[in-house]
């Protein structure tokens, strides 16, 4: 795993997420490139390094959000750990697996964020945002195969091993 290349990709994804995407698209139709990048790392990189990258990606999301610092870092770490387990059972290069894992991870992360925000503010009307989250998860899932294919083209500069880790381990 070449950290400099991954960091550049992460910075670009964060800037896109908090810039043009957030500016032009409502949350219902906004894909989450940072999450997709973290899941891609968890699916393809060495597990220990992938976990570190997922945590950093979450920390980056925390920087660009008004929520409690460390919340996304924890959730991205959990999503990354989940993806590492999934890739042992299923082929992570299958578009269906990529889309399903993106949907699950998005729903899990943003669902917990919504839940904690709801608990912290005591504002039960926030529950109406759940629909927007599911819609956002669907868009992210739809974008996942294309995103993974695009990033997968740069496997060599990203320092990814062609051999599956589960087979190697």
């Amino acid at each position: 795993m070449r950290w400099a290349t991954w960091a550049l990709l992460l910075a670009a994804a964060l800037l896109a997420q908090a810039g043009p995407l957030a500016r032009h698209l409502p949350p219902e139709v906004r894909p989450d490139p940072v999450l997709l990048l973290a899941l891609f790392a968890a699916a393809r990189a060495e597990p220990a390094e992938a976990l570190g990258f997922c945590w950093l990606a979450g920390l980056g999301r925390d920087l660009f959000s008004a929520g409690p610092f460390g919340e996304y870092a924890l959730l991205y770490l959990a999503a990354g750990a989940g993806m590492i387990q999934i890739r042992r059972l299923l082929e992570p290069r299958l578009p269906v697996v990529q889309a399903a894992s993106a949907f699950l991870a998005y729903s899990f992360i943003e669902g917990i964020c919504l839940g904690t925000t709801l608990l912290a503010s005591g504002n039960r009307h926030l529950a109406s945002q759940a629909g927007a989250l599911i819609s956002g998860a669907l868009v992210t899932a739809a974008a996942a195969p294309l995103f993974c294919w695009g990033v997968g083209l740069f496997a060599r500069p990203l320092g990814l091993n062609r051999r599956r880790w589960a087979q190697a381990g």
Binding site: A11, L14, L15, Q17, A18, G19, P20, A22, R23, P26, P27, R30, V34, P47, A48, L51, G52, W55, G58, L59, R61, D62, L63, F64, S65, A66, G67, P68, F69, G70, E71, Y72, A73, L74, L77, A81, I84, R88, E110, C113, L114, T117, L118, A120, S121, N123, H125, L126, S128, Q129, A132, L133, G136, W165, A166, G169
Partner: protein, 277 residues
Amino acid sequence: MKLLSSKPGALLLKTLWVYLGLSLLLLILPIHWLAPARGAALWPFSLAQRVLFEGTAPIEEFPDRLTRLWGRAGREQELQNEVAKLRAQLAAEGERRRSAEMRLAQMDCLTPELQKRTVLSRVIGYDASPVRSSILLDRGAGQGVSRGAAVLCSGALAGMVASVTPLSARALLLDDPACKVMVRCERSRVMGVLEGGGGGSCLVKYIASNADLLPGDLFVTSGMDSLPDGVLVGVCTEAGGDSGEPLKWVTVRPSVDASQLEHVAVVIKPPAREGGN
């Protein structure tokens, strides 16, 4: 489980615990301890976002220019280039003029008292989370912006500053769940606490169930918190009835459309008087 007992599995588990501990530590630490580090980490990103926002106009024109370059030849090509260049200059001038007009419009909407205490700022980023609603401003502590300062757009309240770095500030918009503002109904003088409801709507809570409120009533700031008094906040869209409960809530639509925010005015604290009490 077989994986976790293997050598790479043990390393993975150890790594997971380390990051888990770090995340929990970050969550537990007080916000003001982390604020400087957070500001320092955000600094290069805020610079990049500023460049990104200001640099998108030439990029949008680039394919157009490329087509023109390849489509014609000779003198016609030169003339077309000249026209394109002039158009680009005109567009850039127009954009600059529009930007200046928008900034001036922000000032025109403010009372003379507030005009002396505001700093104009450009929105350079939005919230990455779909649950939260905040904006990143290109003015920070260096320009006098402080935590809790009011963020105004067209004279109405758009939100309040939640965190400040030397060169940028993050402001919570009114529909963010963490944003709480003391407000007053302009007609009936009923007071309540406005809380973000997400998705562009807000609630005003802690209102007596028999309070005189009607849809269409305007809500303004009460001046009982750090925000200036009498600034328009939003319009009541659903007043609710007397349910028999001691308190009720009403729904309010903020006056400022968060998706249209480009320039905002941030109210800064007046300079402290020397020898004052």
